[in-house]
Each structure stands twice: as structure tokens, then as C-alpha cells.
Amino acid sequence: MTEMRPFRDLGEHPVWVRAQGIRKRFGPLQVLQDVDVCFRPGRVTAVLGPNGAGKTTLLKMILGLVRPDEGTVTLGDRPVNGEAEYRRDIGYMPQLPRFPENLTGWELTAMLDDLRDFQGPGDETLLDAFALREEMDKPFRTLSGGNRQKLNASLALRYGARVLVLDEPTAGLDPVAARVLKERVRAERDRGCTVLLTSHELGQLEAMADDVVFLLEGRVRFEGELVELLTATGHEDLEGAIASLIQEGRTLITPGALAADRAAPAGAGAAGVA
């Protein structure tokens, strides 16, 4: 349906995202403990867990919005250390699209293009797929919740980023739009993109995810492929598998992703981070 553009800059280089030895405390609450995970390029990884498990904190660490007390996050071989430039490689879709009420979609797009020094043309295939162009001249405050979310998705995917961080991407979308977005996420994966997403709609996730990272009380209880999770828990669907992990409190870190991590060529994706 959509013609995929190559990665911007050094297109052929995918980017691995790694978090190693992450610990984070907010006041008395230990949010993340000894988290070691690896998000692979060309895969859609669902970050799952009950409320307060540390999912959002982990994703925000990758974006540089939350700083770990201990441990490191790297994109390719570039550490997330407060510098802003690495974020050129990231497309972020926040859970709640709360943009300035007085700006139109086009003005918002121009603002982000300008801030990124993006010469364009940006990827606007989602605008067409969502039939959103007519809404782009209207102030954000006049858009419906669904159209706001569509704009949110369009902006996240506009820049041909090599890492996509999608927080509840299908929330508020009608079934048609949700399907469009799921297809697009899979297309980005096929392009070699590293896709991280969270959602409480496990059915939607199951249709998109290749890998699963399951967090419980700040610790990684499972990291591996979706099929491995289903096999290990003896369930046929993700909902049953996750419920099983939560109820039993088991730790099932399968060797899949971690082994692939170790086998990854050193510096894979490094050249493309700049």
C-alpha cells in the first residue's frame, strides 16, 4: 500500500537498541532493577507488563527523557547520555497527542521539520492512508481524538527513523485506521526498522509483535520471541501467556534475543546513528 523510503542518511544500517544494567528509582519506588534488554532491528518488540511495571520508564530512557541511576542505554554504539543528536534516528509516538491547541497540523509539521533541520520531503503516506490532509489546516483543538492520534502517528513516521518508539499506537483509532497503522508498522519492520511498542490491547500487539519483553515490578521476566513465550507458557494467545506470567510470577528469560544480541556484529548500526 505504501512505498517505503530507504533510511535517511546511511540507509542500509539498522540500529540495535540496548539497555544494560539499568536501575532507576523514583523516591522510595524502585521502578527498574537490573534491566538488560536488547531490541533488534527488523523486529517489532512489544514491551509488556502491568501498570507500574516500568514499561514507560524504559521507553523514556531510550528517548533520553528519563535518566537511569545506573546502567547504560545505547543506540548502535552511541550512548544515550544527554546529547540530542542521536534522536534524529528516533520516531516517537506518545500515548497522548497533546500538541499546542492553536497550531494546525501543517504548522506543527513545519515546526518539527524546522527543529530537526529536515529538508524533506517528509513521508506523508500515512496522511493519505488516513485521509488526513483535509484536517491539516485546522487548529489542533478542533480535531477529534481519532484524528489527533492519526496526526500523532503521521508525525512519528514522517522522518524515516530507524528506531520507532510507539506508546499505545492504536489507542483511539477506529478499526480501519488501526489496521492501516499495523500494516505500516509491519512495513517499517520489513524495512529493517527497530520497532518498540507498548499497548494494553494485547490482541493488537499479537498481530504486530515478533518479540516480547515482559516487565514485572521493574524486572525483566521474559525476553524473547512471541512464539517462544506462547510455547513456554502453554497458551495459544498473548493474553493468556501474559496472565500466566503475572499470576505465577515466573521469570522466563529465553535465550532468543539475548543470544542474538551477543552474536550481533560489534557496532552494528553504529555508522548510521550520526
Binding site: 523514556k60 546529547e83 506518545p94 527543529l115
Partner: protein, 262 residues
């Protein structure tokens, strides 16, 4: 710096479209025109107008900056997911609030003053009133930023902003008066001077009222300040102290923003 200017450009555009800022400007136009008409001349109207400015500018600057920054928290997160440095973004946000607020104040007071001949009749007083209003805007927008980046909950943040406003506009002088009354037997000039420097609203009041030759309207601390410095040195000292009052909360807000977890 380039990123700061870009953020500033879009922030100013967004803020100027809001109705709050327009209402702020209209309020000052109405207050200035009304007081001049009631007083019969610009010079008579200036002390009353100064009192309004000393109350309204800190209140509006604190509340607008605090509300705006809480409201923009999610969008700020989104901007920080793009290749924009935190310092650049903070500078853009701060100036994007301060410049429109200060500009609207200048228009709201300055334009009627120019039309009514206030600039010709009392140029120094009008200039000092406008300068002190702009500096107070910068001080209290910075203080609002400190609150918004330090207090996680927006309701508590707004309450904190209101407490700050009450403290600097009303409570502070009351405490100073009580202390001076209680310790009347002791030489209090220097402690009173220190007390003046510790309150930006008192500093602005000194700047304006010294130029108006209306020492009766000065609070106790202001009277001591005028006696200590007198004339130009007093104004210069107050202006320098106000500039420090801009720099300190600005630096604190920047530090908080640079280190905060979203």
C-alpha cells in the same frame, strides 16, 4: 542558539494566538486610561498605576508560566524526542513566554501613555514603570518555571505559585513591618536594606516610586532603601538587584529542566 530561536519563533506564535495574552493587554489599556481619566493627569495616575502593575504583573506572569508549562509538559516531551537540546528548548520556552507577556504589558501601558502625553509629561517615571514591569515579568516567569519543573502535580504547583505571589506582594512587607516594630530599639537600616533586596516586588516599587517623588507610598523597607542610596544610585542598585533576581530563578529553572525526568 539557532534551535532556541526556532523554538522561540513557534512558541511566540502559539502564545500570541491565545486569548489570555490579549486580555492581559486590554486590562492594562483599560487600567491606564481609567486611572489617567480619574486622576486628571498622567503624573497623578502613575502611583496608582504602579501599584496595579506591582500586583498584576507578578500574578499573571507566575500563573501564566506555571499553567502553560504544566499544560505543555506532554508536548515538551515530544519535542525532546527530537534532536533538540534541553538547554535550547528551555531557553525557547522561557523567552517564548517572557517576551509576549512583556510585550503585551509594554503595549498595554506604553501605548495609552504615549497617546495621553505621559511620555512627554513624566518620561523618567513612565520609563521606570515600563522597565520595572518588564523586569518583574522576567523574574516571575522564571519563578513560575522553577515551580512547574519542581512540583510534579499541577494543582500543587498552582497553589505554590499563588503562595509565592501572596508572600512577595502582601505577607513580606507585613513581616518586615512587624519585625521593625518589634525591634524598634535597634538600628535596623542595614537589615531593612537586605530585606528589600530579598523581595523583587519591593525592588520594583523602589525603582518606580523613587522616580515619582512619592516616598509616602513606599513601604518601610522602601523608605530605608531610598535613604540609603538616594536618587540615581538607588535606582541603579534596585535595577541591578532585579537583574540578579531574573538570573537566579532562571538559572535554577534551567538546572531543574536539564536534570528532570519526564
Amino acid at each position: 542558539m539557532r534551535a532556541t530561536l526556532k523554538v522561540l519563533h513557534y512558541e511566540v506564535r502559539n502564545v500570541l494566538r491565545g486569548k489570555v495574552l490579549l486580555g492581559y493587554g486590554v486590562f492594562f489599556v483599560a487600567a491606564t486610561l481609567g486611572l489617567v481619566r480619574l486622576g486628571g493627569s498622567v503624573e497623578r495616575a502613575l502611583p496608582s498605576l504602579a501599584n496595579i502593575v506591582l500586583l498584576a504583573v507578578p500574578l499573571v506572569s507566575l500563573l501564566v508560566s506555571t499553567v502553560f508549562l504544566y499544560d505543555r509538559r506532554a508536548f515538551t516531551e515530544l519535542l525532546l524526542s527530537h534532536p533538540v537540546g534541553r538547554k535550547d528548548l528551555f531557553r525557547g520556552l522561557y523567552l517564548g513566554l517572557t517576551l509576549p507577556l512583556a510585550g503585551m504589558f509594554l503595549l498595554g501601558v506604553g501605548l495609552p501613555m504615549a497617546l495621553l502625553g505621559g511620555v512627554q509629561q513624566a518620561p523618567a517615571s513612565v520609563a521606570l514603570l515600563l522597565t520595572s514591569g518588564v523586569l518583574l515579568t522576567a523574574v516571575f516567569t522564571a519563578l513560575g518555571s522553577v515551580v512547574a519543573f519542581s512540583v510534579g502535580d499541577s494543582a500543587r504547583g498552582l497553589a505554590t505559585a499563588l503562595v509565592i505571589w501572596l508572600a512577595v506582594t502582601l505577607v513580606y512587607d507585613g513581616v518586615v513591618l512587624l519585625a521593625s516594630h518589634t525591634l524598634a530599639a535597634y538600628p535596623l537600616e542595614r537589615p531593612m536594606l537586605a530585606a528589600m533586596v530579598l523581595n523583587p516586588v519591593d525592588l520594583a516599587r523602589v525603582m518606580v516610586l523613587m522616580a515619582l517623588d512619592a516616598s509616602a507610598l513606599l513601604g518601610y523597607t522602601g523608605a530605608v532603601f531610598q535613604d540609603f542610596f538616594g536618587g540615581r544610585w538607588g535606582v541603579a542598585g534596585a535595577a541591578f538587584s532585579l537583574a540578579v533576581w531574573v538570573a537566579l530563578p532562571y538559572g535554577l529553572a534551567l538546572r531543574r529542566f536539564h536534570r528532570m525526568d519526564f
